[in-house]
């Protein structure tokens, strides 16, 4: 069992909400995709440790049923599934969300049953902890890279390809000037990746031990 694949952490949260709230929140979520309101998601962009995140609101009738032998789910609530792939420890991630976009969180989890608000942090931590489901197998195609590495690498690749085309015929002095201009443009994107540090592992080990001690796993 592992929520961690190198520098990425997989979070799964499943939280209930009433049908009325689900309908309302779906409208809010839809609005966030319209260019006029897309700025509301900008707070998420400031949390640059996120690779990908998503929310799925599922009605009881939308739980897959593949045969007549499978019982129909009879649930009072709709359920919101939240999945995130991020870098850093659980505490860093949850605290960053709470500190950077508390209003955004309150909108995204608006009126979910038991939602305590994003601030103060202690009840918020407890809510996330109580509703988190653990991953049995997690895979990342680039466990040594953080999300910022992937974004920076794209810029490096594009700039390098352009630079090579642009300097094919250059004399050494002109090449050197352009090379140093390239380094200046890429200075925020150049860094070496490696197997460490994986900050989540120590925290994960502590949490796993606590769960074993409490008889949860």
């Amino acid at each position: 069992m592992s929520n961690i694949a190198g520098k990425a952490y997989a979070m799964n949260l499943v939280t209930p909400l009433t049908e009325l709230t689900a309908d309302f929140n779906k409208v809010v979520f839809f609005g966030l995709k319209i260019p006029l309101f897309k700025d509301k998601l900008k707070g998420l962009l400031t949390l640059s440790m996120i690779h990908y995140a998503r929310w799925s609101i599922v009605r009881p009738s939308e739980f897959p049923r593949v045969s007549a032998a499978q019982p129909v789910e009879e649930l009072n609530y709709n359920y919101m599934f939240f999945f995130s792939n991020f870098n850093g420890s659980w505490a860093q991630y949850v605290d960053s969300f709470s500190a950077a976009i508390p209003d955004g969180l309150n909108s995204l989890w608006h009126d979910n049953i038991g939602w305590p608000k994003a601030v103060p942090q202690q009840p918020f931590h407890r809510y996330v902890n109580d509703n988190q489901l653990w991953t049995n197998h997690y895979y990342s195609a680039y466990p040594m890279a953080a999300s910022n590495d992937v974004k920076a690498a794209k810029q490096v690749k594009e700039e390098l390809r352009e630079f090579i085309e642009d300097t094919l015929q250059d004399e050494p002095d002109q090449f050197s000037r352009k090379y140093h201009a390239l380094l200046k443009r890429l200075q925020d994107s150049l860094s070496c990746m490696a197997e460490t540090p994986i900050v989540s592992l120590a925290h994960q080990a502590v949490v796993e031990q606590c769960r074993v001690d409490e008889g949860i796993v």
């Binding site: 694949a5 190198g6 799925s56 038991g114 509703n131 197998h137 990342s140 195609a141 680039y142 090449f175």
Partner: protein, 214 residues
């Protein structure tokens, strides 16, 4: 519904598990053991499936009770949850992704083993039937956020390789006279071939010692 964020696609499926195996453990216990024991990183069965950025498997056993005054309720089935972030610009690319997953994951043997505890999966015997089964069990995404890029995985891995190599080059070639710098850079470009598919990083590479595919 928004499974897409530009060319990135959020795939989520919930496949109901059988209620019993006839053996000494429940299907979810067998499945959990199987998933927990899978090798990680470049040895993960999913490393062989093209365009998998990240993916996870877990067993959805039941729902969490929120305490009074919330209603206490339970799922009637348990589910295998497969959640993947993939490169799939069109819906048809998702079908192709699933076909390749059937064919390539874990050398081709992974999917039948992982899904053997799922209800209705006994009639799935080929890639097209697997696509149909997974589509039947798919859950639509309400809101998808891409904080990374939406390029094909091969491009992402090539970019990471170039970033690593160019950072080293810049560090090791400081202060050179222009002609020497130009010669060194040309040799570097010939080695890393920025516009070619290789050399690049291996999917799931967890160690610099074995990351590069020449």
């Amino acid at each position: 519904m928004s499974n897409h964020s530009d060319r990135a696609y959020g795939l989520m499926v919930l496949c109901p598990l059988k209620s019993e195996t006839g053996l000494d453990q429940s299907p979810e216990a067998f499945l959990r053991d199987f998933l927990n024991d899978l090798p990680q990183h470049e040895l993960s069965p999913m490393a062989a499936v093209p365009n998998t950025y990240l993916c996870r498997f877990f067993v959805l056993n039941d729902l969490v009770y929120q305490g009074k005054p919330a209603a206490l309720e339970h799922l009637k089935s348990k589910y295998l949850a497969f959640v993947a972030e993939i490169h799939a610009p069109e819906e048809s690319d998702v079908d192709e992704y699933l076909r390749l997953m059937w064919k390539l994951a874990g050398g081709g043997g992974f999917v039948p083993k992982a899904w053997q505890y799922c209800l209705g999966f006994e009639s799935v015997t080929n890639a097209d039937q697997f696509v149909e089964y997974m589509r039947r069990c798919q859950i639509q995404t309400t809101l998808y956020f891409n904080g990374s890029t939406d390029e094909p995985l091969a491009e992402q891995l090539k970019a990471l390789y170039l970033k690593q190599e160019f950072t080293r080059f810049a560090y090791e070639h400081q202060g050179l006279p222009p002609a020497a710098l130009q010669d060194a850079f040309r040799a570097f470009a010939a080695r890393v071939r920025p516009s070619a598919a290789t050399p690049t990083w291996r999917p799931g590479a967890s160690s610099l010692a074995t990351a590069v595919i020449e």
